[in-house]
């Protein structure tokens, strides 16, 4: 059957996780490929988590957090922007397509936006095909 990407989604407890909850209570339907991992703030998401996801078999990584300025901890998401910007350059050198890692701001009231972000991202990763970088390894 067709390739179904496995995507890890990092959701910040105060905004995007609550936004995903709202999408749930509003029964908004979206694709099931993103597996949420809850963190207290998008600032907790380290680039090594993203690398670990790919090493552990993920095809895409979605990082979500509060809109800049709305962070429950005031500045957490600013650090995320900084790390994301440098990580993107490194991933490019690692030959990881730009569309495989995405940073999106979803507030606690944007249930519909969360669903849209997930669907869009899954479609993009699906188009890129499986990551399996680790398979073409030694020989």
């Amino acid at each position: 059957m067709s390739f179904e990407p496995k995507i890890v989604g990092f959701l910040c407890n105060w905004c995007s996780y609550a936004g995903a909850d709202l999408a749930g209570t509003a029964r908004i339907k979206y694709l099931p490929n993103v597996r949420p991992v809850r963190v207290m703030c998008s600032g907790r998401v380290e680039p090594s988590f993203v690398m670990k996801c790919f090493a552990a078999g993920a095809d895409g990584v979605l990082i979500t957090g509060c809109h800049p300025g709305d962070c429950h901890y005031h500045e957490g998401n600013y650090k995320t922007i900084r790390r994301y910007s440098l990580l993107k350059r490194v991933l490019e050198q690692f030959g990881v397509e730009d569309d495989r890692v995405r940073l999106e701001w979803v507030s606690a009231s944007e249930g519909d936006r969360y669903a849209k972000v997930v669907d869009e991202f899954v479609k993009k990763v699906k188009a890129l095909g499986p990551f399996n970088g680790t398979k073409l390894l030694v020989k």
Partner: protein
């Protein structure tokens, strides 16, 4: 003190006083036009002429003097109504009325001295009050006299004008007047909704009931001059140097109740607010109704007459795709209240233009039934626009065009006054407050409660509560209920006396910390400090909120974000990728 006689009655008067002031103190009325106690006398109009008799070298001399600028002297005999005085005054009135026939005092004197009043005149009597006022009090020197004799006239450098209105108020003939920027009649100009001067008491029930100065309009703050209010205040309570001072307080809980901000209906041009006369917002209509208000509670049109028909427009800006989708919840009920008040105070026809009448509260529906009996007309249909009269019977009225969905026709209803029930918007500084106190906002911009059903007055930040319209439009009973709910939640926290801090915070392991200080600037709560002699950074557990940003940055993994450690998250990643 000096002893003098006025109209042959003896008086004791202070030396420095002018004749005019002495007579006024004695209760004798002397007409004046170009006199103002805050400005140097210009002695141009001549109305304040009096006859003065004095002993000089044994002979009694009589002379005429302008009382506004002549001082009293010992033994002076003043006659305010002698023939000589009246004759000179008559000449002065003739000269002045020719130039400014509308001035009430001149018309009154003209009748007294039966002088004919010309149809119209130049208006300016060259009294120079505006020149002195603008120079001495306001300090902007906008006006000057130019030309000699017949050509003498007033000129103004308008770019220096700060629109403080002092010249307009002092001009005795009304020659100088204030215009609205859009050159339209200010709604209720006579009624002047809002404070008249820069120093005012906000309302009769103001707490604290003290006057305040509006620095934007106060001349002293703008030009450094004037200061009349401090001169007249006997208690010398006015101190212009008062500055805002920052007070630091330590609190355990915070309640945000900044209320709402009324929607500005100018954005809906079709209702003509700001362009058509007698179109008011609900708060303006409230102020009109208020006994302490400009009309003493009477419902009056701009021209001062009672309206014969009033339209109350519901859902202005609410339940509207282009503005606010939400229902502002309170407008239906206060519109009914307005209808009742109008019926009570005038015998006007009242039309309520509504979509759905939301009388949901206790005693609300009964109040609505009462209004039906009082003959209020309810038109089921949101108003399309308020427009100009076309047909004969609409002459001089505002025409409300709406689709009456129950009748299924477009109707044109002429009214004298329209009240717009504007939407309740989030407070203007909601975004700043939200950021400051870590409270997120729902899609419509109001503060976001922790849970719509289970925690309506608390927020996702412990110790920060919200109540009232800032959390969402609501009426007074609901607001009071929420306020008490929030107060009780705060009280229960206070009575508990202590709170358990979530243990999911970060910690630095000294054995692994190399003192590289990468984490030091990352903490928004300044929980991370560096000890130079130990060469170690450490986290203050009470300040740390557990966001984990420092743990993500620590290059030696010396910071453990408890309950969200690297191992836990990495293993969860492996787990979800089965």
């Amino acid at each position: 003190m000096v002893s003098i006689t006025i109209n042959d009655k003896p008086y004791q008067v202070e030396e420095s006083s002018t004749i005019l002031k002495a007579c006024q103190k004695a209760g004798i009325d002397i007409p004046t036009l170009c006199h103002h106690e805050r400005v140097k006398p210009t002695t141009v109009c001549g109305l304040c002429i009096v006859e003065v008799k004095r002993e000089k070298e044994g002979k009694e001399e009589s002379s005429l003097a302008t009382s506004c600028n002549s001082n009293v002297k010992e033994g002076m005999k003043i006659y305010t109504d002698s023939d000589r005085t009246k004759e000179r005054r008559k000449k002065a009135v003739e000269r002045l009325i020719a130039r400014a026939p509308e001035v009430p005092i001149l018309r009154h004197l003209a009748e007294e001295y039966n002088i004919s009043i010309p149809a119209e005149g130049e208006g300016c009597i060259l009294c120079g009050l505006c020149v002195n006022m603008c120079e001495e009090v306001v300090g902007q020197v906008v006006f000057r006299f130019e030309g000699k004799g017949e050509e003498r006239h007033l000129t103004a450098e308008s770019d220096r004008c700060i629109a403080c209105g002092a010249c307009a108020t002092i001009c005795p003939t009304g020659y100088i007047h204030m215009d609205d920027i859009k050159e339209r009649k200010i709604v209720h100009s006579e009624l002047l909704l809002g404070p008249k001067s820069s120093i005012y008491v906000t309302s009769m029930q103001a707490v604290p009931n003290k006057p305040v100065i509006n620095p934007e309009t106060c001349i002293h703050f703008r030009t450094g001059k004037c200061g009349i209010c401090s001169q007249v205040c006997e208690r010398e309570a006015i101190d212009y140097e008062m500055k805002e001072e920052e007070i630091e307080v330590e609190v355990g809980n915070i309640l945000l109740a900044p209320g709402f901000h009324p929607f500005n209906p100018e954005a809906m041009a079709q209702f003509g607010y700001g362009t058509l006369p007698n179109v008011l917002t609900s708060l303006e209509f409230e102020w009109l109704n208020c006994a302490a208000g400009p009309t003493g509670g009477e419902v009056l049109l701009e021209n001062g007459e009672k309206p014969k028909a009033v339209a109350l427009l519901h859902c202005v800006g609410s339940r509207d795709e282009n503005f606010h989708e939400y229902c502002s919840r309170v407008c239906c009920m206060y519109a009914l209240k307005f209808a009742h008040l109008i019926k009570e105070k005038t015998d006007a026809e009242v039309y309520n233009f509504y979509i759905d009448l939301r009388c949901f509260g206790k005693g609300y529906e009964e109040f609505y039934k009462r209004l039906l009996k009082e003959g209020v007309r309810f038109v089921r249909g949101k108003t399309g626009e308020i427009t100009f009269p076309i047909y004969e019977e609409e002459k001089g009225k505002l025409v409300v065009r709406c689709e009456d969905t129950l009748v299924g026709r477009i109707r044109r209803i002429p009214v004298d006054m329209a009240v717009l029930c504007c939407a309740l918007e989030p407070p203007e500084d909601a975004e700043a407050l939200g950021r400051l106190f870590g409270v997120s906002r729902s899609k419509d911009g109001f503060f976001m409660e922790r849970h719509p059903k289970l925690a309506p007055v608390s927020t996702s930040t412990d110790g920060v509560f919200i109540a009232g319209a800032a959390q969402g439009p609501k009426d007074i009973p609901d607001t009071v209920a929420q306020a008490s709910a929030a107060a009780s939640q705060v009280m229960s926290l206070i009575m508990k006396g202590e709170v358990e801090l979530d243990a999911a915070i970060s910690q630095i392991i000294p054995e692994l910390c190399s003192g590289c200080r990468i984490c030091n600037n990352l903490c928004p709560y300044t929980a991370i400090s560096y000890d130079p002699n130990e060469k170690l950074s450490s986290i203050n557990p009470v300040l740390c909120k557990g966001c984990g940003t420092c743990a993500a940055a620590c290059p030696s993994e010396a910071i453990i974000a408890q309950f969200f450690t690297e191992d836990q998250i990495v293993s969860e990643i492996e787990g979800v990728l089965i």
